[in-house]
Amino acid sequence: MRVQIDFYSYFKDLTGCARAFAALPPGSTIADLLRHLYVRFPKLAPMQRATLIAVGVEYQKPDYMLQDGDEVALFPPVQGG
């Protein structure tokens, strides 16, 4: 299956892109996706504890099971106001 990953704020600078795609085995979770991304974008790895993850417009946890076509967003803590 294939998921889309959007990066926001300085995560775009760390990855060098705003959007990426990943092909993952069926049944993969967000944790699996992160392992994949940390290899591909090593500068993201140190941010792990300060990374927020959404699928669509909802926050999700690492054990969330991804579906084909999911749009995942990865970003640092929010700072509105």
Binding site: Y8, A73, V78, G80, G81
Partner: protein, 137 residues
């Protein structure tokens, strides 16, 4: 509960927002908060802040917060404007207005909304430095 949410790159026009305020005769309290870009961000003098959002998610998360607000307090109206893009120092980036029957609930709801916004609504800011061509004011 009346809800208004505006995410905009335009300047926040407080006078017009004030003109557009309506409240019923049972309401006794208006609490308004304006967040303004400060010249010093983390000890460094800046020229502006640049705000970025993931807009569909921001709108969804604001809607969830408005739902929660409505559950917790008898708020008649919530209006929130967040400016995006480059916001110069001394200009508002955030404007929030809560109208409720009593003062306590209006303050509580306003503070809750801002606190939660800063926790869950995907908006980020980055400092815009003075360039060498600009004389810091």
């Amino acid at each position: 509960m009346k809800r208004e949410l505006v995410l905009t790159t335009s300047r926040i026009d407080e006078a017009t927002l004030l003109e557009q305020r309506t409240m019923s005769r049972g309401m006794g309290a208006v609490v308004c908060f304006v967040g303004v870009v400060r010249v010093d961000e983390a000890g460094q003098a800046i020229a502006a802040l640049e705000y970025e959002t993931f807009q569909p998610m921001a709108q969804h998360q604001f809607a969830r917060l408005f739902d929660e607000l409505e559950k917790r307090w008898p708020v008649e109206s919530v209006r929130l404007v967040h400016r995006l893009g480059v916001v110069p120092v001394n200009e508002p980036s955030l404007w929030v207005e809560i109208i409720a029957p009593h003062r306590g609930e209006a303050f509580a709801a306003c503070q809750f909304l801002i606190d939660e916004m800063k926790r869950v609504v995907p908006i980020w800011k980055k400092p815009v430095a003075y360039t060498s061509l600009t004389t810091p004011q």
